[in-house]
């Protein structure tokens, strides 16, 4: 009975934390972008404009939820759900601090990779079901981009798995007690981070959305709550990748003085800000450039990292 209550609290705690982190990111991103762009950003609603999040939510939820008459209605409605469910599920397998995890899965990392592969369905279905040319082009880009970058993403993580000897996120963190994996796995970290940006479709890899080219790409036809789901999913993706980078390469909750959960939060926040800084800085490469960068630079790098790490692990046995 007692343990059931604890798990319930953890489950709701994680969901609420994930959702409110994503919602909070709306504010954080707008404020940070404004800071880097010589503007003020939202600063009127509530202290520091924090209640802007609530205002944005009210606005987006009260908008007309429109299904275009030319769209494939059933798929059109399912697509936003299909994109947000895998994102939420991944949060379940992460160990945030000793004892704080919804499910301490011994194949947690594999589960994350599997869920991340499912996300592409939501994007492609959304673009396809919209029956709009811009959406179609966007989802075509998304399919190619997300499928290819997933390959390097999985490969880049294998180094960590080999070093820790486990797919379990808790054990991976505990294995970093002596040395964070960012040191032995620096190239793996870079590849994972890059692939993570591509997976979350953020600038400079926001080609499926590409506001200036494809208007809004795969979700051009969406409005109201359905659009909000895409929106929230993007921020959840950012949070997720940031948490994972911290957990896999930067020692997760490990750190002196502060409680474990706070350490993870600080590290995650750092990477979230890094994501936003990237968005404020970079131009967007062209589709073919993105693909050739992936297959010609990222893939060889990830493979080399895999072979070298494997060799060293084998040699030190």
């Amino acid at each position: 009975m007692y343990s059931a209550i604890i798990s319930l609290i953890t489950v709701f705690g994680v969901i609420i934390a994930a959702l409110s982190a994503s919602a909070g990111l709306i504010w954080l991103e707008r404020r940070l972008l404004a800071l880097w762009q010589n503007r003020y950003g939202p600063n009127r609603v509530g202290p520091f404009g924090l209640l802007q999040v609530a205002a944005d939510m009210i606005k987006i939820l009260s908008k007309e939820d429109w299904v275009p008459p030319f769209a494939d209605a059933a798929v059109f409605v399912v697509a936003p759900a299909a994109i947000i469910v895998p994102a939420l599920l991944t949060f379940a397998v992460i160990t945030y601090a000793p004892g704080i995890a919804v499910a301490d899965l011994n194949i947690g990392l594999l589960f994350f990779l599997a869920m991340s592969s499912l996300t592409v369905y939501g994007v492609v279905l959304a673009g396809w079901a919209s029956d709009s040319k811009y959406s179609l082009l966007g989802s075509m880009r998304a399919a190619a981009q997300m499928l290819s970058y997933e390959v390097y993403m999985s490969l880049s993580l294998m180094g960590v798995v080999m070093l820790a000897g486990s797919f379990d996120l808790r054990q991976i963190v505990e294995a970093q007690k002596g040395l964070w994996y960012v040191a032995p796995q620096f190239s793996g970290m870079l590849i994972f981070l890059t692939a993570g940006i591509a997976e979350t479709r953020r600038l400079p890899f926001d080609l499926p959305e590409a506001e200036g080219e494809l208007v809004a790409g795969y979700h051009a036809e969406y409005s109201g709550m359905k659009f909000a789901l895409f929106f929230v999913e993007e921020y959840m993706g950012v949070t997720l990748i940031s948490v994972l980078v911290s957990v896999l390469f930067f020692g997760g909750w490990l750190g002196p003085l502060l409680p474990p959960l706070a350490w993870l939060a600080v590290k995650t926040l750092f990477f979230i800000c890094f994501f936003i800084l990237l968005r404020a800085t970079f131009p967007r490469p062209r589709y073919d450039q993105l693909m050739s960068f992936g297959w010609k630079v990222m893939l060889p790098l990830a493979l080399a990292n895999l072979v070298i790490t494997g060799g060293i692990v084998l040699a030190s046995r």
Binding site: L137, P204, G212, R284, Y287
Partner: protein, 585 residues
């Protein structure tokens, strides 16, 4: 002037070759030579002038039609109901020539010259659209600026100029349906196939509402995947009838309309119009007024280039620079507003000078700005021009050769990016530009990146010119002492009744400019902008023709975007630096 000799020499050469019948010469007020030629000789005459003769004019700079039917002062010109004026130009010798063709009849027809100059395509469509002149052999003679459903040809003298002279506008459902149908793109109209072998092409409407088109522009793309097979630009959504409005405004009250042609260029638009009117009136502008004009023009050039800089970076996906550059532009506007009292469209130049003298303390404001901008530009070089993704997106994209540029009437930074060191401010200085030291930046590749390089360098050159203006601002009057200078100097109007009466008449009625024709061109921010004016001895123009740089530049889009991808198209559009108001007028 050399121009007269050109005209005499050329006329005798032409008469010698084609026979004297129907040919005659003329000259505009500012000295621009004119050759009158019969319509049936055009197909031989124009290739001769373009490339075969001793003095060639490789550029079809502009083409204007004139409705002559209500004109009183024909100035000994041949009989005509309509006149076509082909404005040819030579970069090497910096020479203009107008070839004018008299046409008879209410809806005359003439042979198309698209096979001689591809750039004539849009000019001829415009002339058909506006005057109803038919061009035989034109591949797509359909409306360009007006809606496809429009009735009548607006620049004909019988067409009403005001909405109040027409039926009230109504849009019942049937008409809405009709308008929508007219806008539907039908590939077969343009000789474009829907499929090839086993590929079905995708036709994508980019615009008229699209974040990447910088205004109301529609480009229909024929796509094979993301690769552009062909593109059909559709303009006219921003057409406001600027030329028609000229015919019902006075010379003085038309000035604010010019501000809004290239709405990023502000007073740069005033200048060619003022210069043409001053040629007609025979006014010499005092030195101080010229220097003020130069200084404000260069400030506006910087402002316009800054907008281009930021939006171009945004077109390739960089979010932030546009905010920095708009902030800088706002600083320019602070200076401009302190001098002129308004930001984007200060309507500041007047016939014979400028509206007022510079205010006290203007030099400090300008100096502050000149000290502020260069370090910022250095930073922008780092975040935009030297960024590797930016380079990958723009180098080798949307390139055209110098020959193509000349063939298509490209001027301004787009021309200089192809390696031709040619700037009107240097080659044919106006408004005292010969007194300033500055360089003409060039690049060699003619691609999107090179156009950017040239514009960024031009900002620095403009800073140099403004610095010299501050240092050497000449003393003296800010307006010419001439009866046609509008408005007359204020201090005089307060002291003698004659000037007061003139002031009253010139504001209420408008200055009466003697009959004649004149053309003046300036190096505007986006290329060469010229005004061709005809005065019939009235208080306003009989015909006012605006040659804008963006118009021919947009016509090149299909040529330079074939084979590129959709993101490249956006880079190309950004690098052309057009303003739709400048295209459609």
């Amino acid at each position: 002037m050399v121009a007269v000799e050109t005209q005499m020499e050329l006329l005798s050469a032409v008469k010698h070759k084609f026979g004297a019948a129907g040919f005659s010469g003329g000259e505009m007020k500012g000295g621009t030579p004119v050759i009158w030629a019969p319509a049936e000789k055009l197909p031989q005459l124009l290739p001769y002038l373009k490339s075969e003769g001793d003095r060639t004019f490789p550029v079809l700079f502009d083409m204007a039609a004139i409705d002559e039917r209500l004109r009183n002062h024909r100035l000994n010109q041949p009989e005509a109901d309509f006149t076509l004026a082909y404005h040819l130009f030579s970069f090497d010798r910096v020479e203009d020539i107008y070839v004018k063709v008299p046409l008879a009849g209410a809806y005359p027809s003439v042979r198309s010259i698209v096979d001689i100059w591809p750039v004539a395509n849009w000019y001829e469509r415009e002339a058909w659209d506006m005057f109803g002149i038919v061009f035989e052999g034109h591949p797509h003679l359909r409306r360009l600026l007006m809606p496809l459903t429009w009735e009548g040809h607006p620049l004909r003298k019988e067409h009403p100029a005001r909405a109040t002279e027409m039926e009230p506008y109504r849009l019942p459902e049937a008409r809405e349906e009709k308008e929508e149908q007219a806008l539907r793109f039908r590939p077969q109209d343009w000789g474009i196939s829907r499929r090839h072998d086993d590929t079905d092409f995708l036709f994508l409407n980019v615009g008229p509402q699209h974040p990447g088109t910088h205004g109301l522009l529609r480009i229909v793309l024929q796509l094979d995947g993301e690769v552009i097979v062909d593109a059909v630009p559709d303009i006219g959504y921003h057409h406001r009838g600027a030329e028609k409005m000229g015919e019902r405004q006075t010379w003085h009250t038309y000035i604010p309309y010019t501000d809004r042609i290239d709405y990023l260029g502000g007073v740069l638009n005033n200048l060619p119009y003022m210069m043409a009117v001053e040629q007609l009136a025979g006014i010499r502008v005092p030195e101080r007024a010229q220097a003020i004009r130069v200084m404000l023009s260069e400030l506006f050039r910087i402002a316009s280039h800054l907008v281009w800089y930021g939006t171009f970076a945004q077109d390739v996906g960089t979010m932030s620079p546009v905010f920095y550059m708009f902030t800088d532009r706002e600083r320019i506007f602070d200076v401009i507003a302190a001098i002129c009292g308004d930001r984007m469209h200060p309507n500041w130049f007047r016939i014979g000078g400028v509206a007022q003298d510079l205010p006290r303390g203007w030099d400090r404001l300008v100096r502050d700005f000149l000290a502020y901008l260069p370090p910022r530009l250095k930073e922008y070089d780092r975040i935009v021009m030297q960024n590797r993704i930016f380079k990958a997106r723009t180098k080798g994209v949307g390139a055209y050769s110098l020959e193509e540029a000349i063939e298509w009437g490209v001027t301004g930074p787009g021309l200089r990016a192809c390696g031709l060191e040619w700037d009107l401010r240097k080659k044919r200085p106006y408004s005292g530009y010969e007194n300033y030291e500055f360089d003409i930046p060039t690049a060699s590749g003619g691609d999107c990146y090179d156009r950017a390089v040239v514009r960024v360098a031009e900002i620095r050159q403009s800073i140099r010119i403004v610095e010299q203006c501050v240092k050497n601002m000449p003393p003296g009057p800010y307006k010419a002492d001439h009866p046609l200078a509008t408005t007359p100097p204020k201090d005089l109007t307060l002291n003698d009744i004659e000037t007061l009466i003139t002031h009253f008449l010139q504001v209420g009625w408008g200055p009466v400019i003697p009959p004649g024709e004149a053309m003046a061109a300036v190096e505007a921010a986006k290329g060469i902008n010229s005004y061709f004016l005809i005065s019939d001895g009235g208080s306003g123009p009989y015909r006012l023709r605006i040659r804008t740089p963006s118009f021919p530049h947009l016509q090149m889009i299909p040529l330079i975007s074939r084979g590129a991808m959709i993101p490249d198209l956006l880079a190309i559009l950004g690098s052309i630096d057009y303003v739709l108001a400048d295209v459609d007028r």
